[in-house]
């Protein structure tokens, strides 16, 4: 910790001493010529100086350049490269508009790639997927899905086909920070996890940080999925949409004031009766979401952006059952450029997750949710060509509603019951430096300090010896302690507070332009916990803040990697190994009832988790045939020991495999452009079967067969493998270029493998014989999707 800090001071000194040259700032914004959409991650290079920078999340770049005349090269995948001779004799502002390469070249997408920077940059454990790649991949029911596409990358997996969310390097689903236009998304799934909440049409860019996570990000320990929505076309009005097997999409965008302001509105809805009308009653199951964006450039230095997201899932089965859940996000941002080399973004974000359930036959309504208000101020400071600083502060206020039960009508036997709302404040300051120490050595280092405050109003139980869980030694079980009193905290009073320094460090050493090694370390703290004792989270699970009985999760991750480009970047190889450990990972005592539990502390124990592995990603980046092979060898485990020597903890206090642990995970994604009209894609994945727990014996109790289970997750389901194919057809573009359409044909699980989703060991109710029953979710599923734009 201290060492890191002094290293930083040293580095700063170095940076400032090299400042004395006669140089000027060259800065500007890079946009897509056809829409004025800002472009993220564009390479801006001055080859003769061997210097360069990439545009930030808002398309901004800034470079310190000595006086003189240079060739400036601006390149971006899928766009024509611009090379321009520029003369720098003063502060210079240059904005560039890039033209899509495919529109103008007869060749099929053979774009110049300048990925050299990736070799040299210290960023590692980072996956970028372009929305184009995502849209090509074959997917179930033909529904393009951001999160399902991520699963094809190394180090990313999930707990089975229908499970929600994703797991990164052995981390849990609730340990992923999912940001949509900088706002936190609490539940990324529609329909329990079949689909993700992101409308692919509205997305511009996404990055997944699996390790080496910059200091800018915090609050979750496993990964950061940073998604940016498109701003909308400020040149002309455009529409696009699609009709698929499950849902339809429509997007409209256009200028508010030409070249200055734009709007984008995108809607997506599944068909209202995914459940067939199987009875005379009203049944429906559907989801929808709405993305909106307004952007307005006030002048060269100021821009306002407003984004909104609203999504809901609704299940309704007669009057007896109704379930609604979803996210709402509102976000107002102000981009301001100070003195050409300081870019700032101020965000005010409101985000809300709601879950509602009506059980008519029991007679109650249930509501729960989490709301937060987030204020962020982030700065990108381009000091000189070897040193870039990022710093900022973040403040989030949380209001948790763990649950409220209301009788459905006056005949209901249910009493009104409300769990205490919980309130908290999370604050962080950070700085992060990107530092090219020498031609071959570059580093990114930073420090984040995060503080978390549980605040009143709240009423908390007091327990004997401060111990809400009691171990019954005779029976070897954990029981809930009876509170011996309560303590009330008035509104605004601090109940408990936590603070953590989170150092981040990564370094890259490049042997040459095509080969480098990189290493990283990051420590992160997570103050929110998703309370879930099912194998995969459900929408009903409730987020709960750290507090008197729950400590924040703390992660340390180390990663080391070797990176190589072959044949000028046509092929690339990324290999990484990682080790991470997390403390204060909560686990649940057997029989923990988490729903409507006002004293969650009485059913949880404090444990830890660890994960380690090797990831290999081999890509072919260019040509008619592109794709990648990803392989992950890993282990993810959890352990909850007893608190004293007599206690046995959970699973005997031994390490056990996480629910999403897969020893081997191989994914192959391939795409072949046969002609301008036809494109073929294939995915193949092979995974070690998921951990499961099988019985080792049975007994009879009250004439019911009860299985006796082996230690937790000591067995595995059969191996999982699947092949998917798709073909995309783009009919010839007519002379009138305005209307375009395309067809996408897909086959999911081509060879119809019955992959086990679960194995259930039960007594056959007709024969009375015990048997193992395999549930497989998806057999072969063909799909057709029609897309259009004009």
């Amino acid at each position: 910790m201290k060492q890191n800090f002094s290293l930083f001071i040293l580095a700063c000194c170095y940076a400032f001493t090299s400042f004395a040259q006669e140089s000027y700032t060259l800065s500007g914004t890079i946009t897509d010529a056809s829409s004025n959409e800002t472009l993220i991650g564009v390479n801006v290079l001055i080859p003769s100086l061997n210097t360069g920078v990439v545009t930030n999340e808002y398309g901004f770049y800034s470079l310190k350049v000595p006086e003189g005349t240079y060739d400036l090269v601006i390149s971006y995948l899928g766009f024509q490269t611009i090379t321009e001779r520029i003369t720098i004799s003063s502060q210079t502002n240059l904005n560039f508009k890039l033209k899509e390469s495919s529109e103008f070249l007869d060749e099929i997408v053979i774009s110049q790639r300048s990925d050299g920077l990736n070799i040299k940059k210290p960023e590692m454990s980072l996956n970028k997927l372009s929305i184009n790649t995502i849209q090509k991949m074959p997917v179930i029911f033909g529904e393009v899905d951001v999160i399902k596409s991520l699963l094809m990358l190394p180090g990313v997996s999930n707990a089975g086909e229908g499970s929600s969310g994703f797991n990164v390097r052995g981390g849990a689903v609730d340990q992923n920070l999912i940001l949509l236009d900088e706002a936190t998304i609490y539940n990324s799934s529609h329909l329990f996890g079949f689909f993700s909440v992101f409308n692919p049409d509205a997305i511009k860019d996404l990055k997944l940080y699996k390790g080496g996570i910059p200091a800018k990000y915090g609050g979750r320990v496993s990964s950061v999925l940073d998604i940016y929505q498109r701003d909308g076309n400020s040149r002309e009005f455009k529409m696009q949409g699609g009709i698929g097997a499950i849902s339809s999409r429509l997007l409209a965008e256009g200028p508010i004031v030409k070249d200055k302001g734009s709007f984008l509105i995108a809607g997506r809805s599944s068909y209202a009766h995914l459940f067939l009308k199987f009875t005379d009653n009203e049944n429906s199951a559907y989801f929808y979401d709405l993305n909106t964006k307004l952007s307005y450039r006030l002048d060269d230095k100021n821009k306002l952006l407003f984004s909104g997201y609203f999504g809901r899932d609704v299940f309704s089965l007669s009057r007896n059952f109704k379930n609604t859940y979803g996210n709402t996000v509102l976000n107002l941002r102000w981009n301001h450029i100070f003195s050409d080399n300081i870019f700032s973004n101020l965000s005010v974000i409101y985000s809300d997750y709601y879950y509602g359930l009506t059980l008519g036959f029991v007679g109650f309504n249930w509501d729960s949710g989490i709301k937060n208000l987030n204020l962020k101020y982030d700065f990108d400071h381009y000091l000189n060509d070897t040193f870039q600083l990022k710093y900022g502060l973040q403040n989030t206020y949380y209001d948790f509603n763990p649950g409220e039960i209301e009788p459905i009508d006056e005949t209901s036997g249910i009493n009104y019951f409300k769990l205490n709302n919980k309130y908290a404040l999370e604050s962080a300051v950070y700085f992060s430096a990107e530092h090219n120490i020498s031609e071959k050595l570059s580093a990114e280092y930073g420090l984040r300090y995060s503080g978390f405050y549980r605040i009143g109003r709240d009423e908390l139980s007091i327990y004997e010896n401060d111990s809400p869980v009691v171990y019954n030694e005779d029976r070897d079980i954990y029981e809930e302690a009876e509170p011996i009193g309560t303590q009330t905290y008035e509104s605004g009073k601090i109940i408990s507070s936590f603070g953590n320094f989170e150092p981040r460090f990564s370094i890259a050493y490049s042997f040459n332009d095509n080969q480098s090694i990189k290493a990283s370390y990051n420590r992160m703290a997570q103050y929110l916990h998703l309370i879930s004792n099912t194998s995969s989270p459900t929408p009903l699970d409730v987020w709960t803040p750290s507090g008197p009985f729950i400590d924040p999760q703390i992660l340390d991750q180390y990663a080391f990697g070797y990176f190589r480009n072959f044949q000028d970047g046509i092929y690339s190889l990324e290999t990484e190994t990682f080790y991470k450990k997390i403390k204060n990972r909560i686990d649940y005592v057997n029989g923990a009832n988490l729903i409507a539990n006002n004293n969650i502390e009485r059913v949880i124990l404090n444990g830890k988790s660890r994960a380690y592995g090797l990831e290999v990603l081999f890509r072919k980046n260019e040509g008619r045939f592109t794709g990648w092979l990803a392989y992950t060898l890993s282990r993810a485990e959890q352990k909850t020991p007893g608190r004293t020597p007599v206690e046995t903890g959970i699973n005997g206090g031994d390490w056990y495999k996480s629910n999403y642990d897969k020893t081997h995970d191989v994914s192959i994604t391939a795409s072949y452009e046969a002609s301008k009209k036809w494109e073929f894609n294939a995915n193949f994945s092979f995974q070690t079967g998921l951990p499961s727990t099988f019985p080792t014996a049975q007994y009879s109790y009250e004439n019911i067969t009860v299985p006796v289970y082996a230690p937790r997750n000591s067995n595995r389901l059969p191996a999982y493998h699947r092949l998917d194919l798709s073909a995309n057809y783009n009919p010839k573009i007519s002379s009138e270029k305005d209307f375009r359409s395309s067809w996408s044909f897909g086959i999911y699980n081509v060879y119809n493998r019955k992959n086990a989703y679960s194995l259930t060991f039960r007594e056959n109710s007709d024969t009375g014989v015990n048997e193992a029953v395999r549930l497989s979710l998806f057999g072969i599923i063909p799909s057709v999707t029609y897309n259009f734009s004009f």
Binding site: S318, Y699, S700, A710, S758
Partner: protein, 267 residues
């Protein structure tokens, strides 16, 4: 519950399928299983009590081995001893035990030279008020549902076990956390209920710890186990303790309950 909704979705999209597969299993050492339910029926003067002892067996076995050579007795708070005599198939009988409400009893078993004990308190139960039937039950709202109404005594925690005996046996357990002092119902609904079915209903008053035991047990049986939206399987440990060898813990439970019964013929 979630799995059921989820299952419905899949069935109606026609993509999922269930089949029986051959999975070889490891086998664990047999353990003693105690089914000691000491009951006091509201409408009956009978004092015949029965305890069943068996052993756990490999999962695919069709027979459960009975335990026939154990010595079994129950001792009351006041020191009265009730010996249980083996009759057949692991059933042990005593004809004189009429448990008294709120009194504590101890069960003692000696089997294979090891001593097992358990302690529990006799729990009372309120009366069944009436039974009602509608045809709008289940998640889909098209199943016959049977509601067994009772009035929960207010201002005290109460726990209930309902056993519905039809073609299959169904256990339902309730606590009064959200229904304290109200008239509420035990709920029985599934797709197999047919008009003319004769359903035997038993309502037991149970202790909090037996409720918690059954809560875990229920999560391990039948269709409630397996799958991402279900809780992790676990060993269900009861209140019978092996005093001689802790490692060789038994399964099962010793409880004493007052029971109200009724029968209902489905219309």
């Amino acid at each position: 519950m979630l799995l059921k909704i989820f299952g419905l979705f899949l069935i109606f999209t026609g993509t999922s399928c269930e089949d029986v597969v051959d999975i070889p299993l490891d086998e664990s050492e047999p353990r003693l299983v105690v089914e000691a339910s000491i009951l006091s029926y509201k409408e009956s003067e009978s004092n015949i009590q029965q305890i069943r002892l068996t052993e756990s067996a490999p999962f695919y076995d069709e027979e459960i081995p009975p335990v026939e050579n154990a010595s079994v007795k129950i001792i009351s708070e006041t020191g009265l001893e009730y010996d249980f005599i083996h009759t057949s198939e692991g059933y042990y009988i005593n004809e004189n035990l009429n448990p008294i409400l709120r009194e504590t009893y101890e069960l003692q078993i000696i089997y294979n030279d090891e001593v097992y004990t358990a302690t529990e308190t006799m729990m009372g139960v309120t009366d069944i008020d009436f039974i009602e039937q509608t045809a709008t039950g289940g998640f889909a709202g098209d199943e016959i549902e049977v509601k067994v109404f009772y009035t929960d005594p207010g201002n005290e925690p109460n726990y209930y076990l309902f056993i519905f005996r039809n073609k299959k046996i169904t256990l339902e357990i309730y606590e009064d956390k959200f229904t304290d002092g109200n008239q509420i119902f035990g709920y029985y609904s599934n797709e197999d209920i047919q008009p003319g079915d004769n359903i035997a209903v038993e309502m037991y008053g149970i202790s909090k710890s037996y409720y918690e035991y059954l809560f875990i047990l229920r999560a391990q049986i039948g269709e409630n186990s397996g799958g991402p939206f279900e809780t992790q399987p676990a060993t269900v440990k009861g209140n019978v303790i092996n005093r001689s060898n802790k490692e060789n813990y038994p399964f099962g439970y010793f409880h004493l309950s007052e029971v109200d019964t009724s029968t209902y013929i489905v219309e």
